[in-house]
Symmetry: C2
């Protein structure tokens, strides 16, 4: 038995800091992708996390293991997405690990208990703020409140694909360390959230994400070129927060910027899968 | 474009009445099935609801239409489940209609707004209490609070099938009209919910549902025979609340009681589908 957690793209966000990790998090909007993390767990002599077949430093996954068990385990995660690309790789790794641990060790936790542990692991490690809550039910989501309990609403969308190109890593930790930058990001995020709640459609989410990326200056010149190339092909595009990654509703215009990946929007969120099961099988149209 | 809503089986429940339909509902536990309702909407001269190709009296679906639009529409629902069988047919019809209306008329409602409208339609028509919240995220769910906002947690389960046999309709309205019976049901439901929260596993949900069905006297003699037949084949079974339907983890023993249907546990909840899309495609293992 393996556990799957979707990748998660944030379009725009508002950060909330608190001494309590359960109250730390973000509001905003984003979407889950059928590319994500697939994790298996086995008992072992000492705890070890392997990523795509190699030993890895995975602080968030290690933290969620410590939160859930004292037993030494070997965790094997296959990531279908790049690390540091704003695709929620650390959250997907931690959530899929929590689900796999629960099944393998018979921990008898509910899904929310596992997700909350992953959220605490994520925010205390500074690898993300809203990816765990964002992916918790799959689909295209609006997060109205930060932290736990998750308060997630969804924008109904038909089965669809998202196309993305990844240029390189951005450290979430570094960007969110600058207080002045954070205040400016949060002001822009609040405007976007208010506008999206007034008109909750997927197209509006894409447009607001684009203004957020430009207004905050978070988007790189190359990524903005890619966004404009998609727009010249009639699509909508923006930057995945926080990564040097452009995501788009159509592939047109993206190919000249790098390898274009395609992923279905995941509608089911984190879940157990039978061995040999392809997560895409749940989602592709 | 069509909209799908899963069937929903309630294992046990506690009812909550209130003058405010948003505070009316039930707590309890249950699961969503990939058999459900598939609905398409078109503009028309007068509002008409058709079920499996024929004009139908569908009070809950008609109520959700009135809550969402003044425009006359033709609603065509195909049900993969029997009506009155404790499988949440009225909720699945109303939720899929709300989603289809939203897409067809560009209503720009969020998923929660659509679900809350369906919940109000369901409880004001007395056709159900917890099916809309129960199916809202798919999977195997625990509902800790009644009414809106939904408070749903989930028990992680691998992809799996549920087998069921339907004997005949039971009126939810009639059973819940008797105050003494309701008090007894609620006392049993509270014990089950407490026990499930202490040990949130799928097997425990099945066992508690069985005791609830027997203890409350809601199960028919024939349904109890079917439950015992499944148990003699090593499976777990109970009655779908409120219907003369037995659901089970294995098919063994059920065939002598009637037509055995098989449905995957639906992990994604209500969603839009492309035309020609099979909802099962999202779920089967």
């Amino acid at each position: 038995m393996k556990a799957f957690a979707p990748a998660h793209i944030t379009g725009f966000f508002i950060t909330y800091d608190d001494l309590d990790p359960l109250r730390t998090g973000s509001c905003g909007a984003g979407l889950s992708l059928a590319d994500g993390a697939l994790t298996g767990v086995s008992l072992s002599d000492q705890t070890e996390v392997r990523l795509n077949g190699r030993p890895a430093e995975a602080s968030t996954t290690e933290a969620v293991i410590r939160l859930l068990t004292d037993r030494p385990v070997r965790v094997e995660t296959r990531l279908g997405i790049p690390v540091g690309g704003g695709l929620g790789a650390s959250a997907a790794g931690a959530v899929s690990t929590a689900l796999a641990l629960n099944a393998r060790l018979g921990l008898r936790k509910t899904l929310n208990e596992l997700l909350y542990a992953a959220h605490v692991a994520e925010v205390t490690n500074g690898t993300g703020l809203g990816d765990v809550s964002g992916m918790s039910s799959g689909g295209v989501e609006i997060r109205r409140k930060p932290g736990v309990p998750f308060d997630v609403d969804r924008i109904p969308v038909p089965p669809m694909f998202v196309y993305y190109v990844h240029f390189g890593p951005v450290s979430t930790k570094a960007v969110l360390a600058d207080a002045r930058e954070k205040a400016m990001i949060n002001a822009a995020g609040r405007r976007c959230l208010k506008a999206l709640l007034a008109r909750p459609t997927f197209a509006e989410l894409m447009r607001l994400s684009r203004s957020f990326a430009v207004e905050t200056g978070l988007i790189s010149a190359r990524a903005l070129d890619a966004v404009e190339a998609v727009e010249s092909h009639g699509g909508l595009a923006s930057m995945a927060m926080l990564g040097d990654t452009v995501f788009a509703t159509v592939p047109g215009g993206l190919a000249e910027f790098g390898e274009v990946r395609r992923a279905a929007v995941d509608m089911a969120g984190p879940r157990l899968l039978n061995d040999g099961h392809q997560p895409d099988y749940f989602n592709s149209s």
